[in-house]
Amino acid sequence: MTQININGRTREVDADPATPLLYVLRNDLELNGAKFGCGLGQCGACTVLVDGEAVFSCLLPLAALDGRAVTTVEGLGTPEEPGPLQRAFVEEQAAQCGYCIAGMIMRAQALLARTRTFSEQDLREHMQPNLCRCGTHMRILRAVRRAAAAMRAAEAVPLRKEAAR
């Protein structure tokens, strides 16, 4: 029995410690966001956050997760109350088949957690590990920029209030 922290909750998982997190998420915890794409760390469809870093969950065994915090796309929000990135992806209609999108969002989340200000080149380099086959790249990039702008604006509001005082 392994204890892992998923989206802020401690969950007990009874699986072979060698089992990659991806299978645990999808089958044991019934979280659909992370997808099997290659099992080789080449495509990023399975990307989740572990301690804030974007990682390939297809190559991250349960044995390595003790005491570490995992965040999946389900942890960012719901259809009713989407997180900033999820909202931005909907607003930009940044999906075609959508199979890669949860991984894209999680990779972008790692960037936005670090900084809200980045160059276009930084963004593209950051997203490089994740593949999209439908060609939705332009919209994905727009959505990440939109989310960053929204987050910056949200953070600027209290500052402006302060300045007004």
Binding site: T19, G41, P61
Partner: protein, 451 residues
């Protein structure tokens, strides 16, 4: 133009300005010292001074035979010129790349034919002199990070071809950044002493008894390809140790494994394996190039098969590589029991290895990457290559076919990486455990985050 080379450094000028007026009692001693200094200086100047060579008008493309430009392109690829003389993502051959050395940081120069900031006004003679003896057209000494200690034996024809190639590149106006070196290393004439000690002909001598292939390979490996620059250890003066040729060195924080009999590769390299590795960027038995070796192999893709084969032939001979037949018959160590077919659950590092590494590095037929038991990095005396590959992965150039290993920096803690590497080394079963692996992982990771 020779004067600036002999001018004293900024530091010494400042020191002199700070001197108080000497007292009368000191005059005689000082005069004697000056006399000695003048004589010594004159003698040193005679050694260190190099004339400026006359500038020329940049030759037009038509001045060169197309075949020479073509040959020069392949030679430049063998010489790996673009790697140092190009900022990643920047204009080709325009210089500017920082080259860290134990003595300070040197910035690569612009070798495009731009007249003002590049080598556009260099005659072929000036180019040849720079290539073989590390002296710029204006006579100043160049640092041996430019491996003229290897290029010294480049023949006239190849020098001409390289000149033809470089003079027909797109000129880029981009001044070289000033080097970041402390005194005395920022005083270029000191390089004359270095050259007197370490710059010699004869790194390679043709051997009639050997095949043409071997001789061609030797000429390239010891010369333009400057393999020893990384794969031979260096002394305190930064020169390659001739007594330990190809015994393994380092480059950009990576180990450059020994190419001689002390190679840590568990399976000796054959000529054919070296050829596959250098030609296609992967050998099924030994794996794929990583770190600073990756661009070397990438460049070799532009080199004719024959030259790559020649290089493989010569490098194989350095370690006295087995013939293909002998290699095939050599008893190979049975692969360690594989974890992926285990019928029992694993724990700790073994489980991490099975879930993260085993899919590719299992050593089973059809596995997509090198058997971990045969990995040179896992069997090397120094763990840093293994650590770096696990942290950074291996990424082929964008859009290109090539080995791809994901980075695990975010996936695992320092201790987990240390544990899984220890496990892999133990699994290979050839060498005792590395010491203090956890802190080495930590140090390398922190070093990375700084840059």
């Amino acid at each position: 133009m020779s004067k600036p080379d002999l001018a004293v450094s900024d530091n010494s000028r400042r020191n002199r300005g700070a001197d108080r007026k000497p007292g009368r009692w000191a005059w005689r001693g000082l005069a004697a010292l000056v006399a000695i200094a003048v004589v010594a200086g004159a003698a040193f100047a005679a050694i260190a001074w190099r004339p400026e060579l006359a500038p020329v008008v940049t030759p037009a493309r038509a001045a060169f035979a197309p075949q020479d430009i073509e040959t020069g392109a392949a030679l430049a690829a063998i010489g790996n010129c673009d790697v140092c003389h190009t900022v990643p993502g920047g204009k080709f051959y325009a210089g500017g790349r920082a080259l860290p050395t134990p003595f300070g940081t040197i910035y690569a120069t612009n070798i495009t034919p731009d007249p003002a900031t590049g080598i556009g006004r260099w005659s072929e003679e000036a180019f040849r002199r720079a290539l073989r003896s590390g002296v710029a057209r204006d006579g100043h000494h160049l640092y041996p990070v430019f491996p003229y200690d290897h290029f010294i034996d480049v023949n006239d024809g190849d020098s001409h071809a390289l000149y033809a190639f470089l003079m027909t590149r797109t000129p880029v106006e981009q001044s070289a950044l000033p080097n970041d070196l402390p005194f005395p290393f920022n005083w270029r004439p000191v390089l004359a002493l270095w050259k007197a000690l370490y710059l010699h002909h004869g790194g390679f001598k043709t051997e009639a008894a050997q095949s043409a292939d071997w001789n061609r390979g030797g000429y390239l490996v010891e010369g333009l390809a400057h393999c020893g620059a990384c794969h031979t250890p260096r002394n305190a003066q930064g020169a390659e140790r001739r007594d330990r040729k190809f015994a393994g060195g380092s480059s950009e924080g990576w180990d450059a494994p020994a190419l001689n009999q002390t190679s840590p590769a568990p399976v000796p390299w054959t000529r054919e394996q070296l050829f596959a590795y250098l030609r296609r960027g992967v050998d099924d038995v030994h794996g794929a190039p990583a770190g600073p070796m990756a661009p070397v192999v990438h460049n070799l893709a532009r080199v004719p098969d024959a030259d790559v084969r020649a290089i493989a032939t010569y490098v194989a001979s350095i370690a006295d590589a087995p013939s293909p037949a002998a290699a095939a018959n050599a008893p190979t160590r049975p692969a360690a029991p594989t974890t992926v077919t285990s019928t029992t659950e694993l724990s700790g590092a073994a489980a991490i290895f099975a879930g993260a590494c085993g899919g590719c590095h299992s050593g089973l037929p059809g596995a997509s990457a090198v058997d971990i038991a045969r990995s040179t990095a896992i069997n090397a005396p120094d763990p840093r290559n293994a650590i770096r590959v696990v942290l950074d992965g291996i990424t082929p150039p964008p859009g290109e076919r090539g080995p791809l290993m994901p980075p695990f920096a975010g996936a695992f803690t320092d201790q987990q990486i240390a544990d899984v590497l220890s496990y892999a080394r133990a699994r290979a079963g050839r060498h005792p455990a590395w010491n203090d692996l956890g802190s080495q992982v930590k140090a390398i990771r922190q070093g990375q985050s700084k840059t």
